[in-house]
């Protein structure tokens, strides 16, 4: 009996493939894509202002009209994208020297230790790290205490720069690792050739190493950009700014699901654009 079944599957390779893929594909399409679809459909449904309930399949563009008629939504989106870009740039600026040292200069033992050091923050809980930064950034927190001899005060928990700082800290390992991997891939012979042709340190870096690193940087930036654009816990806890995620959360918490769903199109569209751009830069080969 079993041999008959296996025999049949052997003769029909497409059926074998289908049966094997049915499970994971079913999971992705029904559970993941399906729930995402329902979420996004809410943006096109109306809400009964009397009972406060969403009216499914009652198609309307009211939620989008609200988003476009109030300029604050644009301000919040611009603020979020701006911070996400700043986080990406800062993370890249820190990751390059660190990864370069790890890949090219450090001894194997130091390299191993540094790898552990870079990934160790990932072992700690996300919330614990943010609360640690809160105690540092409070007006008389650790930072305030350290700079008080110079007559300065701590930033307090209302500065938007705090969000930039903490987000960069959180996503730094995700930028360092792809850049490190990218640097490791550059063969030594290339650098020797560049030196032979008269290129000193900075020229070699600018014209030989950096172009090779663009895919790796793009790959790392996918993490830093997408994680920053969607974050709402960091701006809530260390600053008083509202990001896209905060607006979506606040609206959901108070029952305005159509507006929340409509506004969530913004990060989705931005990320699609960003991923297409990153793909062009070769990020997906280097992930």
């Amino acid at each position: 009996m079993i041999r008959r079944i296996t025999g049949w599957f052997n003769r029909h390779p497409r059926a074998t493939l289908g049966a094997l893929l049915a499970g994971p594909l079913g999971w992705i399409s029904i559970v993941y894509l399906g729930s995402l679809l329902i979420l996004l459909m809410h943006a096109f449904w109306s809400k009964d202002s009397f009972t406060g309930k969403v009216e499914p399949f009652n198609w309307t563009l009211d939620a989008f009209a609200q988003i476009f008629s109030n300029p604050v939504y644009f301000t919040i989106a611009a603020r979020t994208i701006g911070i996400a870009l700043l986080v990406t740039i800062a993370a890249a600026a820190i990751a390059l020297p660190v990864a370069y040292y790890m890949a090219r200069i450090a001894s194997p033992r130091k390299r191993a230790l540094l790898l552990v050091a870079v990934t160790m923050p990932l072992w700690a809980s996300y919330l614990v790290k943010i609360y640690a930064w809160r105690t540092i950034l409070q007006t008389n927190g650790l930072l305030g205490w350290a700079i008080s001899p110079f007559g300065l005060e701590g930033p307090g928990l209302t500065e938007i720069a705090n969000s930039w700082l903490v987000l960069t800290y959180l996503w730094l390992p995700y930028m360092i690792l792809p850049v490190y991997a990218g640097l490791e891939r550059i063969p030594n012979s290339l650098l020797e050739a560049s030196a032979d042709l008269g290129g000193r340190g900075w020229i070699t870096f600018r014209r030989v190493i950096f172009p090779q690193l663009i895919p790796a940087l793009a790959a790392g930036s996918i993490f830093t950009f997408s994680l920053s654009i969607g974050d709402y816990i960091v701006p809530d806890l260390v600053s008083d700014a509202k990001f896209i995620g905060n607006v979506i959360y606040d609206n959901s918490a108070l029952g305005s699901f159509p507006v929340a769903a409509a506004f969530s199109f913004v990060p989705i569209i931005v990320m699609i654009g960003y991923l297409l751009f990153a793909r062009r830069l070769g990020a997906f080969e280097s992930l």
Partner: protein, 399 residues
């Protein structure tokens, strides 16, 4: 592969439309001709299980010494209690609407929505022996009754108070002016609740300062009144406000000195009072009155365990359970008997929370949902809706 993907997507869409399309034909109309849905004519046998949605701290099982009102209930009735804590009112509404719970403790902004939508059932209070003893000021209020029928039993109530750091604010304030007008000492360190419902507090200030606006109910505001409230909030924001979303943020802020004045619940004042390293704080109910909240235990219309739910509602009005629960949270008890019990575990509690002082509660506006019809008998009036409030708050905080 391309065809495979397209077919899968189509199949998913078809499944979804079929699944969702069916549920739209359901209406919220109650079944039966005379008896409303979920009405219990008489108490039957306990079902053995009870699934509740609660505010954190509303169903304690002895994690804190001396506070356990769930175990005695289970032992007495045989109803095993399973709780889910809600994060906020809307989360609570969603949980109840999922149909998997028998009931929960809801604040006014959730309870009104649930009653209007028919998600909770009217309660036959004749079956609840402890109901008669509850303070009359808590019965048949806008947030726990509809068409003259009670829709739940009270758990406790509390006001939003003005709290200040006594080292920085040396003269005790008696009015909300302190957070609206600002002074050099407090600017930049004002603590305000981060929710659209706070617009009502602005309305209360306007009721005292600008009576020409004619605000009758701080939760039901017309175009002009609403614009004035938002204007006031923008001025306040420019003084330098730090908005708090969770009570722990406010406590940490006052303890570190980042905050020196703001709106709070008695609970936070108690926490700060218990912290010997924190600056000394005082609270007051300002002369203009304030917003407040009154939580009600309500039963779902489609509750699977209605008898256990009725037993729980009666239990939560009993002296021991209500006394313990309200002392634990720092809110006012719901009956004289509960107050007497509360005196034995926390002397002065009922006096501090004004549990039986009905005159005190006259000046307090319980949280409720802003409605387009202004929740009044006058059909000509229109007010800003909940959605308008949420959007205005987003605009205020987002800019």
């Amino acid at each position: 592969m391309k065809r495979f993907k397209g077919v899968t997507l189509l199949a998913v869409l078809a499944l979804l439309v079929a699944a969702c399309g069916g549920s739209t034909s359901e209406s919220a109309a109650p079944s039966g001709d005379e008896k409303p849905a979920g009405w219990l004519e008489a108490l039957g046998a306990a079902e053995g299980e009870l699934n509740l949605i609660i505010w954190p701290g509303y169903a304690e099982r002895g994690e804190y010494e001396g506070f356990n009102w769930v175990d005695p209930f289970e032992a007495e009735t045989g109803c095993k209690v399973n709780v889910t804590a809600m994060t906020d009112s809307n989360n609570g509404v969603q949980l109840l609407q999922s149909g998997q719970y028998d009931g929960g403790s809801f604040s006014g902004d959730a309870s009104v929505r649930l009653m209007t939508a028919g998600d909770v059932a009217p309660v036959n209070v004749d079956l609840l022996s402890n109901y008669a003893a509850v303070f009359s000021g808590l019965k048949n209020q806008a947030h726990n009754s509809k068409d003259g029928m009670p829709y739940g039993v009270p758990h406790g109530r509390g006001p939003n108070l003005l709290m200040w750091n006594t080292d920085v604010v040396t003269t005790a304030p008696t009015s909300w002016d302190a957070v609206w007008d600002g002074t050099a000492a407090v600017n930049g360190k004002i603590s305000i609740y981060d929710s659209s419902i706070y617009i009502a507090d602005a309305a209360i200030h306007l009721m005292a300062k600008r009576p020409e606006l004619g605000i009758k109910n701080p939760y039901q505001l017309n175009e002009e009144q609403f614009a004035a409230a938002i204007d006031l909030l923008e001025k306040q924001r420019d003084l330098g406000v730090i908005y708090w979303g969770s009570y722990a943020d406010q406590v940490a802020g006052f303890a570190s000195g980042d905050l020196v004045i703001g709106t709070t619940w008695q609970f936070m004042a108690n926490v700060l009072g218990g912290d010997t390293t924190a600056p000394k704080v005082e609270t007051v109910m300002p002369a203009e009155g304030s917003t407040g909240w009154s939580d009600t235990w309500m039963m779902a219309t489609k509750a699977a365990n209605p008898n256990c739910m009725y037993l729980w509602m009666n239990h939560m009005m009993s002296a021991e359970a209500n006394g313990q629960a309200t002392v634990f949270f720092g809110e006012a008890a719901t009956s004289e008997a509960a107050c007497d019990y509360a005196e034995t575990i926390a002397p002065g509690h009922c006096e501090l929370t004004h549990a039986s002082d009905e005159a005190y509660w006259e000046s307090i506006w319980y949280r409720t949902t802003p409605r387009e019809d202004c929740d009044d008998a006058d059909a000509a009036t229109t007010c800003k809706t909940q959605d308008d409030w949420v959007e205005a708050w987003t605009t205020l905080r987002g800019n």
